[in-house]
């Protein structure tokens, strides 16, 4: 068993990133605590995916600092050691789903790539397929799946190794209502076991049911936070967005 985490799993301070003349992130501060689901909400192009890619070292920040601490020591995601990445899972935009592989093979491959040993990879894949109700499709090639089921396969691949940090970009995208509920319950269980999740969405209702904290991102800036338990999140959200537009 690994020791429970106490320090923030993810800390981002003053993160800036531009793509040409477009300022995608403009001084973002964000933390993710152990055992927490932290939701990022914003309109399309708000900077959610860029922020997640910087957190995972896929993109570089122009300025600011990023630290991951998943129990292997605090590190910058750029050049983080294998021990850190073994404890991180991610689903950013496109699921890890290759049309020529079956669902079981796909998830087993993800388990291997995330550092599970060969004897453990198969059982881990079968376990997560059952938990996400994908076992019915386990021996089908992923090219035959619906968009929603491919998304669930991508989620299974992201979490098959039971990571301590999950970075999930719109995980309920394309899921039917039953799939949304199943993923929500699964995430809540995983976080109860000690993991932390940074989740993005533009569906406020879903985030209200899922998240412990909601940060609103607009035009690359954090423009406020929402209490998931509060009433009329949509009105609060747009009030923050319009206030930022007017500023």
């Amino acid at each position: 068993m690994t020791a429970p985490l106490t320090a923030p799993v993810l800390s981002m301070t003053g993160v800036r990133r531009a793509f040409g003349p477009e300022q995608a992130l403009d001084g973002v501060d964000l933390t993710l605590e152990p055992g927490e689901i932290h939701a990022l909400v914003g309109l399309n192009g708000a900077g959610k995916t860029t922020l997640m890619r910087i957190a995972l070292g896929m993109l570089r920040a122009d300025a600011g600092s990023v630290r991951l601490d998943v129990g292997a020591g605090p590190v910058n995601p750029l050049g983080a050691p294998p021990a850190t990445w073994r404890r991180v899972g991610h689903l950013i935009e496109t699921p890890f789903a290759y049309p020529e592989l079956t669902v079981r093979e796909t998830v087993r491959c993800a388990a291997l790539l995330h550092g599970l040993a060969r004897p453990a990879a198969g059982p881990a894949a079968d376990r997560v397929l059952a938990e996400l109700a994908l076992d019915h499709w386990a021996d089908r090639r992923t090219q035959t799946l619906s968009l929603g089921n491919r998304q669930r396969v991508g989620l299974a691949c992201a979490v098959v190794h039971e990571p301590r940090l999950m970075v999930l970009d719109e995980p309920s995208n394309a899921l039917d209502p039953a799939g949304v509920v199943r993923v929500r319950r699964w995430l809540a269980d995983a976080v109860a076991r000690g993991a932390a999740a940074l989740v993005s969405s533009h569906h406020l209702d879903e985030m209200a049911r899922l998240a412990d904290r909601i940060t609103v991102l607009h035009r690359g800036r954090v423009v406020g936070t929402l209490d998931p338990q509060s009433a009329d999140l949509e009105r609060q959200f747009f009030a923050m967005v319009y206030a930022e537009e007017a500023a």
């Binding site: 890619r53 496109t94 020529e100 592989l101 491959c109 993800a110």
Partner: protein, 255 residues
């Protein structure tokens, strides 16, 4: 790197691109070599027989396997180049490259694993082509193959390995231009340039032409003057291409 090799190997053997290209190398090329040998040996002055006879160097099994090597030298770069371009470029075309980042295996090892499994696949196709060619040679009436068959098989393997090295820069092209069609387009350009350089008479010093000349595509006189140094130029081309691809996977923003 071992898990990455296993995963990339599974993706490769399951892929239609590798299956079709593998069938061309392992089945179509030996069948074509046997057909051309049959045409040349059957006598007569059919257009096919007249065209094929000048391509045959030696007699018996040496001539037949030499023909196999000639055809393989033409098909191998095309087949291996298409497969390697696809293996690397598909991750950008299908936007799956992000799933291969933020993993315990560093990105440079992922693309090196792709090159490695493609190399093993190419050599396996060569071995299968020999297995297909042997019964076809017996059916042609060439008799029991002698010790010279081992030399011919080694030459075939060398041609395939050299062609694999020559395909490796396409891993960099498919990365740099973010898709497999860019790699395949570059491959077509390389084949055109190779033809032009060969026509101009500088073929043996051009890495992409030397293996085909050595295989006998330019006739026995041209094959005899190709030196080991000229053939070995394929190796730095391949290593440089793989290094450039690995460097780009490790240092660049791939998403």
């Amino acid at each position: 790197m071992r898990p990455t090799l296993e995963v990339e190997g599974l993706k490769l053997v399951r892929s239609p691109a590798a299956q079709v290209s593998g069938a061309v190398l392992a089945l179509v090329i030996p069948l074509a070599a046997a057909g051309m040998m049959w045409a040349a040996r059957s006598g007569g002055d059919s257009p096919m027989a007249l065209k094929v006879r000048p391509m045959i160097i030696g007699t018996g099994w040496a001539a037949y396997l030499g023909m196999l090597g000639e055809l393989m030298s033409v098909a191998a770069l095309l087949a291996i180049g298409v497969v390697l371009s696809w293996v690397v470029g598909r991750e950008f075309t299908d936007r799956t490259v992000g799933s291969l980042l933020a993993l315990p295996t560093p990105p440079w090892q992922t693309v090196v694993a792709k090159v490695a499994v493609t190399t093993v696949w190419a050599l396996a196709c060569g071995a299968l082509s020999m297995l297909v060619a042997l019964p076809l040679g017996l059916a042609l009436g060439l008799g029991v193959p002698g010790i010279e068959t081992v030399g011919s098989a080694a030459k075939l393997a060398t041609i395939l390995l050299l062609m694999t090295f020559l395909a490796m820069p396409l891993a960099w092209v498919s990365t740099r231009l973010r898709g497999y069609l860019s790699g395949i387009s570059t491959l077509i350009g390389l084949i055109v340039v190779t033809q032009l350089v060969t026509i101009a008479g500088a073929g043996a010093w051009f890495p992409y032409a030397a293996p085909s000349m050595w295989a006998g595509m330019g006739g026995p006189e041209a094959a005899a003057v190709v030196t080991p140094l000229q053939l070995s130029l394929a190796i730095p081309v391949g290593l440089l291409g793989t290094w450039a691809a690995a460097r780009r996977w490790q240092r660049s923003e791939l998403v």
